[in-house]
Structures are given as C-alpha cells and as structure tokens.
C-alpha cells in the first residue's frame, strides 16, 4: 500500500497506545496526581532563588525575577539560622538516641514474654497510641501537665512543691518531646523487630540452651547481633524521615514561651511563609531543610557501612 512504509515513530506510538490502552487508562489518574501534586511543587522550589510576591498564582513563579542566593543569605545572616539548625540537630539526636532505640528494647522484652495471651494484650495496648494524632497526644499532654488542674500538678502539690509547667519551660520542653514521642510510637515500632526476631533460626537458641546460656546471655549474644542489619536499615530510614516527623509533633506542642528551644525549620517556614506570606524566603528555608535532611541520610548510610552493616545503597 501507498508510498510510505508504515513503520514510522507515530505509527509505533499509536500501536503502543492502543495495545496497552486499558493499562494506560488505569494508571492515568495516579500519574496525573503525582504530576500535579508532587512534581509541580518540586518545580515551585525555584521560587527560593527568585523574588516571588504571589502575583499570578502558582504560574507567576515563572515570571518572578531571579535574585540568586539572596533569600538564603538573608536566612544565614538572621538569628534564626543558628537557632533552627541547633534545635533541629539536637532534637534529632535526642530522638535517634531515645525514640529510635526504645522499640528495639521493647521488642526484645515483648519477645521474652512466654504467656501468649499476656503478650497479645501488651501488644494491643502498646500499639494503640500510634493511631492517635499529634493533636490528640499533645492535648492529652497539655491536660496532664496543666499547672492548675493536671495530674502532674496534683502530684507536685501533694508533695508540697510548686508545680512546673513542663511545656512552657525551656529546660523541660525537649525532654517532653522525647517522652511523648516514645509514648506514641514505641509499641508500633516493635512490629518490624518482632518479625525479625521470629525469623531468627531457633536452632541457635537451642544450641545455646544446651551450652547452658542464660536468658540474658541469649539476648545479648544471639538476638541483638542477629538484629543488627535490620537495625541499621531502620536507622537510615528513620534519619530520612526525622526532619519531617519533627514538624507535626512540635507544631502541636510548642508555644511562644519555648520557641527558643523548640523552633525547627518547618515550624519557622510555616510562620514566615503561611502566616507572614514571605513565600520566596520561606521556600529557601524549606529547601535548606531538605538539604540538611539529605546530608543526614547520606552520612547515616556512610555510618552504617563504617560499622560493618549494609546500608540502603
């Protein structure tokens, strides 16, 4: 037929579309969603290098004039840079030290429970707080710590002491972050480790029992070393998420009295960006946060290799 051979690009493309038409159609909503709500905002990040004043909506970002690193320099020269970086690093270290390690200990202890019913009850109760939002957890905390009527204040008064409002005291705010984080997620965090413990070869334990090892020896000589590779992977994942997870918790728990010790990148982005409408400046702060997050992930992966475990890559 005809003069042209029908094997050109467009015929191939047409054939490709028709052949997989159902699959294309089925994934279309999902791809559209990711393009609009995930990838378009990634383009929007260029506003950090521009002077964008909300003219022309989201597409107005394209027209906004470039200003190079001005927004970043303004941030680095403000008092907030040192404060936010310091708080972020400190709070993250606290979280990794305490909130990350507690589910490992908890999982080992749960695994040592021999009565299945009791074990299941413990699991059900400790998993539960995971399903409460930070709004509710902070609400519980505020009520418990309330200096006028909380349980903590009641306890202090019973011993004739002046009640401390832990959530408004710069000395106690960070410990409160760690305690509430452990309360909320220690149980849920055990699931992965419990599964890993179940996967350990029982023969190792039997051999150790025959050699006369005690419970504690078996925990420290078998269970912990066997868990080390999953611990290292979970660690890197935790580091990758840590700066994002900080936000919801701190945002619901902090108040102006403790900004000095509680303010982190995202909370500051919210106040300057959403409340004061300094879009370009706060986008620059947000981008810097992503940069810090990336460095943390890269270095924790490196750390895992140094300690002789496999990392994520």
């Amino acid at each position: 037929m005809g003069l042209k051979k029908r094997t050109g690009f467009w015929t191939d493309a047409k054939e490709f579309i028709i052949r997989y038409r159902f699959l294309h159609l089925m994934i279309l909503p999902c791809v559209l969603y990711f393009a609009v709500f995930k990838y378009a905002p990634m383009y929007g990040v260029v506003m950090a290098f521009k002077n964008y004043d909300a003219v022309g909506g989201f597409l107005g970002i394209m027209q906004a004039p470039w200003v190079g690193f001005d927004n970043f320099l303004r941030f680095f020269n403000s008092i907030y840079f040192k404060r936010l970086l310091g708080n972020t690093v400190l709070i993250s270290i606290y979280r990794l030290l305490f909130s990350f390690s507690s589910p490992i200990v908890m999982a080992i202890l749960i695994n040592e429970i021999k009565n299945t019913h009791f074990k299941r009850i413990v699991q059900t109760i400790t998993y539960m707080p995971h399903f409460l939002s930070w709004v509710i957890v902070s609400g519980l905390l505020i009520v418990l710590c309330s200096p006028s009527s909380g349980a903590v204040a009641g306890l202090f008064k019973a011993f004739g002491m002046e009640p401390i409002y832990f959530l408004s005291d710069t000395r106690y705010f960070r410990p409160m972050l760690v305690i509430s984080e452990i309360w909320k997620s220690v149980g849920w965090g055990t699931i992965i480790y419990l599964a890993a413990i179940t996967g350990i070869d029982q023969e190792i334990y039997e051999a150790a029992t025959i050699d006369g090892a005690s419970r504690l020896q078996k925990i420290f000589r078998i269970t912990v070393p066997q868990l080390s590779s999953i611990i290292s992977i979970m660690f890197i994942l935790a580091v990758g998420r840590i700066l994002d997870e900080n936000f919801e918790q701190i945002f619901n728990m902090y108040n102006p009295a403790v900004y000095e010790v509680a303010d982190v990148f995202e909370t500051y982005v919210y106040r300057t960006g959403i409340l004061s409408a300094q879009y370009s400046y706060s986008a620059a702060v947000g981008l810097f946060k992503s940069f810090v997050s990336l460095i943390l992930v890269l270095s924790s992966n490196q750390l895992a290799h140094l300690l002789g475990n496999e990392g994520l890559w």
């Binding site: 997989y20 699959l23 159609l25 994934i27 999902c30 969603y33 990711f34 709500f37 995930k38 990838y39 378009a40 905002p41 990634m42 929007g44 990040v45 506003m47 909506g57 989201f58 597409l59 202890l109 749960i110 429970i113 021999k114 413990v122 059900t124 109760i125 400790t126 539960m128 707080p129 409460l132 939002s133 709004v135 509710i136 609400g139 519980l140 505020i142 009520v143 418990l144 009527s149 306890l155 008064k157 019973a158 699931i191 992965i192 599964a195 005690s214 419970r215 504690l216 990758g240 919801e248 108040n255 982005v269 960006g273 959403i274 879009y279 706060s282 947000g286 981008l287 946060k289 992503s290």
Partner: protein, 292 residues
C-alpha cells in the same frame, strides 16, 4: 530439659512487672482525660488525682453537642472526608497498583521510579500551599481528598500484594478474552480483600487524624475537621468562643472540661474500632517492610 534456672525466673518476673507498668503508662493519660471529662468542676477541683467520677456529669458533652454547632459539623466533616477520601484513594491506588504489577507493561519501571522518587523528595510546604491556592481548592471539600490522594508507600504495598497473585490466573483470563479492566475487577479485587482492607484502613486513619490541610486551606469554620477544631480548643483556653454561643444562656462549662470532652469525642471511634482492626495494620506493616 524444660527446667528454668533461678536467674531466668527472676528475669521473667521483672519483665512481667515492667510490661504491666508500661501498659499502665500507655493507658493512664487516656483514662485520666476520659474519666475526668465526666466530672463536675467541683469534683475535679476537690479530687485532683482521681480517675473516675463519683457522680457522672455530662455537662461538657451536652455543651459541645447541643449548643456547639461547630463541633457537630466538624464531626460530620471528618466522617465524610474519612469515607470519601479513603474510597477515592483506594480506587486510584488499586488501579495504579494493578498496572505496576503487570510485568508486560512497558512503562512500569518508569512510573515506579517516578513514584518512589517522591518518597524522598518533595516541593515542601510553601510550593504546595501556593499550588493548592492556584487550583482554587481553598475552602472546598475537595481539598481534603485531592492533595493527598495517593500515598506512594501504600501504592507500593498494594503492588506487592498484587504481584503475589499467581501469573497463571492472568494468563487464562487473557486467553478467555478478558481485558485488563475486567481482570482487575473480577479477579484481582476479589482475591485481595485483606490487602484492600489493610490499605483502606491506613488511608482512613490518616484521613481521620488529618488537620494540617484544614488549617492551611480552610478558613470557613463550618468546613473544619474535628482534629483542627480540637487543636484550637486545646490551644486557646478562651476559644470557647469558637462554639456557637448564640443560644446559650447562663454559665458556660469551664474550658478544661470542654477540652477533655472534645479529646474523648475525637479519640473514641479509633479506640473502639482499633482492637478489631489491629491485625490488618500489623499485616500491612510487615508486607511493606519486607520488600519496601
């Protein structure tokens, strides 16, 4: 063989005591707030550490539900978004997961990379905020559904579930002339009841607990969610004025009991359903962690 040494028995006893203590710590704040939300002010002041009321007073509850028109509407908004949001998310997620599990689909890897990339990199709060503004989603119910429609994590878990369905089922259906939509609807979906329940519950819990989108994008209080409303009540003791006071005459119950009652109202549905659904959640975490 089975005899335990004295040291092991002591360890067992200590471990049991520690576990019981931890369970009490987990339950205490919830019991404290729930119990005291039922007390009258006088009793609360007189018995600062008591957990259970001597005389039950429903004043705070009747206040937030009868006169507080916003609490009722916030509850309705939360229930609506949980149902509509999870249903939409589930539909889009399962359709996409089906496609990503089909090995013959040429764009499978490209789309998988596109989706996984968003698990590590995102535009951040400000570009997202401006985008939603520009799409004119402010103060619309859709803002609770669209911006968080698909979770990359849930999508990958779903794909793993679908990949474990034997390939022969697909082949024989293809030979019988079924297209992919039919295979999805008649074979894959009916076989994946547990997976769908798991992922649907993950979405539902997320929707139930969501508040930040409400805070960012919705200024119209009649469209606020329960969680945001609770947040405002907790943070501003004076925010009793958030409740519609037009019809109320006389003394208002103190802010504190309203705080407690609102916490209970926002928490109760999850606490009641959770024990029955726990196994689905645990399963989802395990499957997600194995390959993810």
């Amino acid at each position: 063989m089975k005899r335990e040494s004295a040291g092991d028995r002591i360890f067992q006893i200590i471990n049991t005591v520690v576990m019981i203590t931890i369970c009490c710590i987990m339950l205490y704040p919830i019991i404290f707030v729930a119990g005291r939300s039922l007390m009258s002010d006088v009793e609360r002041a007189a018995r600062p550490l008591a957990l259970f009321p001597e005389k039950i007073s429903m004043l705070a509850y009747s206040f937030i539900f009868m006169r507080g028109s916003y609490v009722g509407s916030a509850y309705f908004v939360t229930i609506s978004r949980t149902i509509a949001g999870s249903a939409c998310s589930l539909a889009v997620t399962t359709l996409a997961a089906y496609v990503l599990s089909r090995k013959e689909y040429p764009l499978r890897n490209a789309f998988t990379v596109m989706i996984v990339f968003t698990m590590w990199f995102n535009g951040g709060m400000i570009p997202n905020f401006l985008l939603v503004q520009s799409l004119n989603l402010n103060n619309k119910f859709l803002v609770y559904i669209l911006p968080q429609l698909v979770s990359a994590w849930n999508l990958l878990i779903m794909r793993n579930f679908f990949s474990s369905i034997p390939e022969t089922l697909f082949e024989s259906a293809k030979i019988d002339g079924a297209n992919d939509l039919q295979i999805y609807a008649r074979i894959v979906m009916p076989l994946s009841g547990a997976a769908i329940a798991t992922i649907g519950l993950f979405y539902a819990v997320w929707q139930w607990n969501a508040w930040f989108d409400s805070l960012m994008y919705v200024s119209d209080r009649s469209l606020w969610t329960m969680q945001l409303f609770l947040r405002e009540i907790i943070r501003n003791v004076q925010s009793i004025d958030l409740l519609d006071q037009s019809s109320s005459i006389g003394a208002l119950p103190p802010a504190e009991s309203v705080q407690m009652a609102t916490i209970v109202v926002a928490t109760l549905p999850i606490l009641c359903l959770y024990p029955f659904l726990q196994k689905f959640f645990v399963k989802g975490v395990m499957v997600g962690s194995l390959k993810g």
